[in-house]
Each structure stands twice: as C-alpha cells, then as structure tokens.
C-alpha cells in the first residue's frame, strides 16, 4: 500500500471533484441552509433575508396537531411496513431460491416493480383499492367481508397506505435478499442436510445468521425510507394526504408547509426534526447490529 501523500491526496480529490461538487451543491449546502432557515421566524428564500431568530419554529411544529398526526402516522407506518415487508421479502427470496425451472424469469418479474415509477403503481393501487370496482374488495367479499372505503374512509386511509408501502418496497428487498442467499456457500446446506437439519432450523440457524449483514443493511435503509415516505402518499391520494389528512406523513407535512402554506422556516424546522429522529434511530440500529450481526 502507498502512504497517503499530499500529491496523491490532491490527485484523488481531483478525480472525486465532479461528484463532490454535485453533492456539495445539492445536498450539503441545502442541508446547512435548511438548518439555518429553520431558526428564523420569517425568511425570504430568494433574498436570503430573515427576521426573528430563535426556536419559535420548533415550538410551533411540535405543538402543531397536523405535525403530531404526521409523526404518529409515519411512526405507525414505519413500525408496520419495515418488519412486514422484510419478512415477506425474505420468505419470497427463500422460495425464489428453491430449485425451479425458469428462475431467471421470476427473478426478473419480481424486480420489475422496482424499475416502475411509484406514481404509476400508485394509480394502479387506486384501482385496486376502489371501493366499488377494486379487486381487493372483490376478494374480501369472497370471505364475507363488507365493502371497505379504502381511500375515502379516514379509518382505512393509513392501512391502505401501509399496504401500498409494503408492496412498493418488496422488489428491491427481494432482489437484495436473493443475491445474499445465493452468495451463501451451498456446502453449508449440504452439511445441514447430512446432519438431518429440518427446513425451519436450516432457515433460522443457517440462512438467517449468514444473511444477517444483509438483513441489517435492508433494515436500516428501509427504516430511513419509511420515515421519508412521501411518494406513496402522492401516488395513492394525489394532491391531498388522504381524507381529513389521515394519511399525512412527515415529509408530506414538510412539502405542504413549503409549497402549500409558503412557510419555508416551518418546513425547515420539521425536516430538521425528521433528520434528528432518523439520526438517532439509525445510530441505535447500528449499535444493536454491531452486537447482533453474526461474524
């Protein structure tokens, strides 16, 4: 290995500069700017002038009923969507990995939703959830369940969002898990077979632990993704966050404050709070994973 020297460091920076410039312009600068803006009572984002420096915005955000609802919805959404979608994805990946003709076809099929636009899928889900013509209610009717106004009944708007959220994240997770499973040495399974290991034990004692780095990776990015849910809301409900705001999420709140209410400082404060929540939880997850992830 080479010792890092000024010359080589400069050279490396030169090669990295295109990406660095873009990241600095569109990520790092706006991030600091948002934090800065979040402390002003009033702020003109075009002239960069503000007044009323302080914590008022934060006070307003955390006492705003809509933000509390958004926080509650987002939390419920995350707590349900992340584990459920991961479990389904893991199970699907295991099933997809079994010896079967035409595997490549199914792998492709399962990956298709990932390359499809979420808004378009949201439109498809609007049809699925449609209370009169939707297939979901038709299926539920077979089990004697009455018509549910999925998208119009405030009681069901969050569940509908959760169902859509679970589905929309599956493709990516399945593909990552499948790659992980296929990377596990086949001899572990042969050894397990010779030793008469049951399928369930093979899954819990061999596949899961060997996949644990992948599971935690997916866990962390799904958690972050779920907390940032926004497109799913737009895809399903268009220009409003569900009936009576019942499908409001934090990012939707931020967007709404910025464009709808034209209050950039409030939007900035809310996004800083979101940032802190994600930071704290990711930090906890990393700490836990260090202890739990095998080998």
């Amino acid at each position: 290995m080479f010792e890092p020297k000024w010359k080589t460091t400069l050279k490396a920076l030169l090669y990295l500069s295109p990406a660095l410039i873009i990241i600095a312009t569109f990520v790092i600068y706006p991030m600091f700017r948002s934090v800065w803006i979040s402390f002003f009572r009033d702020y003109n984002i075009f002239k960069h002038t503000g007044s009323g420096f302080g914590l008022d915005n934060y006070q307003e955000v955390i006492t705003d009923g809509r933000f509390i609802l958004a926080l509650k919805n987002t939390t419920i959404y995350t707590i349900v969507v992340v584990p459920v979608s991961m479990a389904i994805a893991l199970l699907s990946a295991v099933l997809l990995n079994s010896k079967m003709k035409g595997m490549k076809f199914f792998e492709t099929l399962y990956f298709l939703p990932y390359i499809t636009n979420l808004i378009a899928i949201g439109l498809a889900f609007q049809f699925i959830f449609n209370s009169t013509y939707g297939i979901l209610n038709k299926v539920l009717a077979l089990f004697g369940i009455d018509t549910i106004m999925w998208l119009n009944d405030p009681k069901y708007s969050l569940p509908a969002l959760i169902i859509f959220g679970i589905w929309s994240g599956l493709a990516f997770k399945i593909v990552v898990f499948l790659a992980g499973i296929q990377g596990i040495n086949k001899q572990y399974y042969q050894a397990a077979r010779i030793d008469g290991t049951s399928r369930w034990r093979t899954f819990t004692k061999i596949t899961m632990p060997l996949l644990s780095p992948m599971i935690f990776y997916i866990g962390i990015i799904s958690f972050i993704g779920a907390f940032k849910t926004y497109v799913q809301v737009v895809g399903l409900y268009g220009n409003n966050p569900g009936p009576a705001d019942t499908a409001m999420t934090i990012v939707y709140y931020v967007y709404d404050k910025f464009y709808g209410a034209n209050e950039p400082p409030i939007a900035a404060a809310a996004s800083v709070i979101l940032f802190l929540i994600i930071l704290i939880f990711t930090f906890i997850q990393l700490r836990v994973s260090k202890r739990r992830v095998q080998y």
Binding site: N185, Q187, Y188, Q190, A191, R193, I194, D195, G196, T197, S198, R201, K205, I206, P209, L210, S212, Q294, Y295
Partner: protein
C-alpha cells in the same frame, strides 16, 4: 458397516462421472478413494452420502439398499473439503448442531461434544469460531462434527488438500488414529497417491469414471493391474520403456529381462526407480544425464531408450552429471504391460 456399490452409474448432462462401478468398501477400515481430478471419486463419495442421486445401479450399507434413501436417513458423517463449518457458531455449537437436530437434550449434547473434541484434540478451542482457528483446527472440528452423531460411515472429501505440507502429514496421521480409535468405516477421497498409500487399509483407484483396482496399498504398488495404476502410484514414478519379447527374453538398454513362457510380442516394460542397483561390474554402463539430490537418496536420469529414465540410488554414492554408472536390476520392481496397458503376468 460394509458399503457395497453395485453397477453404480452417475451421468451428468455432459459426462458419465461414475461408470458401472462395483466396489466393496471393507467394514471398519480406512479406504482411500484415489484418482486424478475428474475421475469420479468425489462423485462416488457424494453418491454414497446421498447428495447425488444414482443414474442406475445400487448402493448397499451391509444388506440394506440405501440407493433411494435420503441423505439424512443414511447415518453418515461427511467432512467437506472446505470443512463447511458454520462461521457464526463456535466450535462447540458446530459439533453440537447435529445432536440438537436429533433432539438430544442440550446438556447431553454438550457432554458428547466435549468428548468428541477430546478425541480430535481441540477441547481447548471449543469457544472459538471457525474464523479464529487454523486450517488444521477447523479440520478437526469438522471431523468431530461428523463423528459426534456416531455415524455408520464416515466420508471425507479431500480432507487434506487445503492444508500446508507439514500440517497435512500431521492430519493424515490424525485421521488414521481417529479412525482406529472409533473403528468407524471410513472412506476418504484423495488425488494424492502418497496420502492414500500412507494411511489406507485399502485403496480404490478410479480413472475416467471407471474403477481400476481395489487392493491394499502394498498389493497395489507391487501388483498394479494396468499401466495407469502402475504410473499413478509411486514417487518418483515408474519408468516405462517400449520393447519386445523374443524367445522369452526382453532387452532394455543392455539389460536382459526374463519373460519365460510368454509368446513373442511388443511389450511395455515398467521399471520402478528403486529396482536399479549400483553394480560397478555390470555389463550395463550408462551416462548420468542429470540428477536430483533428495538428501537420503539421489535420483539419476539415464537413457534406457530415447526418453530419460529415473534411477533411485543411495546418496552415499558420489555421482555427477556426465559420470558413467554401472547398473543392474532387481526382479521385484519390473512389470510388463501389453500395448493396451493391461498387465502381462510372468
């Protein structure tokens, strides 16, 4: 437990890996399944294990037909070439794993694992994970894991190929010792003839999917059935010289070799390097073309025909390239083969 293969064939899409093999593996013995890469030895092992399905033919454990039996029902222990230890479990957990599968209570499993660890001399390392152990130690854990459920048959796939030279010598003695102590019928796959010769009670040698010979190491070395077996066993390898039988005699570079009672024909004469004897008064005097010094012995290269032949002599005889040495032959290390490579018995 005796293992018998009857007309066993395994065909993959492109090749026939095992071709109509009928072999009996002796009970309670250590059998080396020997052959060059791609000869079908590993396939044979996996067929016995049940991880591969036979295309045709039968496999018997004693008198029980296990051809269609699931691997987990066969009662075998298998040690993989790369050990296949579960990397996230400690040595102890690895060894206990097959027992827990059999619903053995944890306490009892722990005691058995400890006993097994003592047998393979790793009882100090039970709390370590495979990543914290050397290749030889991992190998021992793998053997303990295979033996802990008291298998009817122990199968080892190239058990020594991932170890360095010194560890290999140590582990092959260990495998022999463990086999002796447990008395379990053991079959191990190897491509190393020296390894097979040194520890096997019985050697099964294969080539291109076909069984060549089953014999004890000594019998196989002294009486190979064909040219392939003769060439495969022995290091330095046997010399092969083309010649003719005329009136019951063969001439090879001045040597007269008796072949009484065999009609006149072309023969391939195999001469083991150690069959030569230094003999200053011999009528056969040959030039040393090259030599390799091994310490105790020296290998000389001389021309018996157009090719160089190897002559193994004691190192106390001083010798340089270009010297002329007088050589005679001991009868023991001379083997005759026909043009198809089949042995001609004198």
């Amino acid at each position: 437990m005796k293992v018998r293969l009857e007309n066993l064939t395994k065909a993959f899409e492109e090749v026939i890996a095992v071709n109509d093999a009928t072999i009996e593996f002796a009970e309670g013995k250590l059998t080396g399944l020997l052959g060059p890469s791609g000869c079908g030895k590993s396939t044979t092992l996996y067929l016995i294990a049940g991880l591969f399905r036979a295309t045709s033919g039968k496999i018997f454990f004693d008198n029980e037909d296990v051809t269609k039996m699931q691997p987990e029902k066969r009662g075998i222990g298998l040690v993989f070439q790369n050990y296949a230890l579960y990397p996230h479990m400690t040595a102890e957990q690895n060894i206990m794993f097959p027992l827990i599968n059999q619903k053995v209570p944890k306490k009892e499993a722990k005691i058995k694992a400890k006993k097994m660890a003592e047998l393979v001399h790793i009882d100090e390392l039970l709390k370590r994970k495979p990543g914290q152990m050397s290749g030889g130690q991992q190998q021992r854990v793998a053997i303990a894991r295979a033996l802990v459920k008291e298998p009817r048959i122990l199968l080892l796939d190239e058990p020594l190929s991932n170890l360095d030279a010194r560890l290999r010598l140590e582990m092959r003695e260990e495998i022999k010792r463990i086999q002796r102590e447990t008395g379990v019928t053991t079959i191990f796959v190897t491509h190393d003839q020296e390894e097979a010769m040194s520890i096997s009670d019985q050697i099964v040698i294969m080539k291109d999917g076909f069984l060549q010979q089953v014999a004890t190491p000594r019998e196989m070395y002294d009486n190979p059935v064909n040219e392939f077996v003769a060439k495969f066993l022995g290091n330095p390898p046997i010399n092969m010289v083309h010649s003719k039988i005329i009136n019951g005699m063969i001439k090879v570079a001045g040597f007269d070799i008796e072949a009484k009672g065999i009609e006149d024909r072309d023969v391939l004469v195999g001469i083991r390097p150690e069959a030569f004897k230094l003999d200053a008064n011999s009528p056969v005097q040959l030039d040393v073309q090259a030599f390799e010094y091994f310490g105790r012995e020296t290998l000389l290269f001389v021309n018996l025909d157009d090719d160089l032949s190897r002559v193994l002599i004691e190192s106390d005889f001083p010798c340089e390239k270009g010297d002329t040495v007088g050589l005679s032959l001991r009868m023991g290390g001379i083997l005759l083969f026909d043009s198809e490579g089949q042995r001609i018995y004198v």
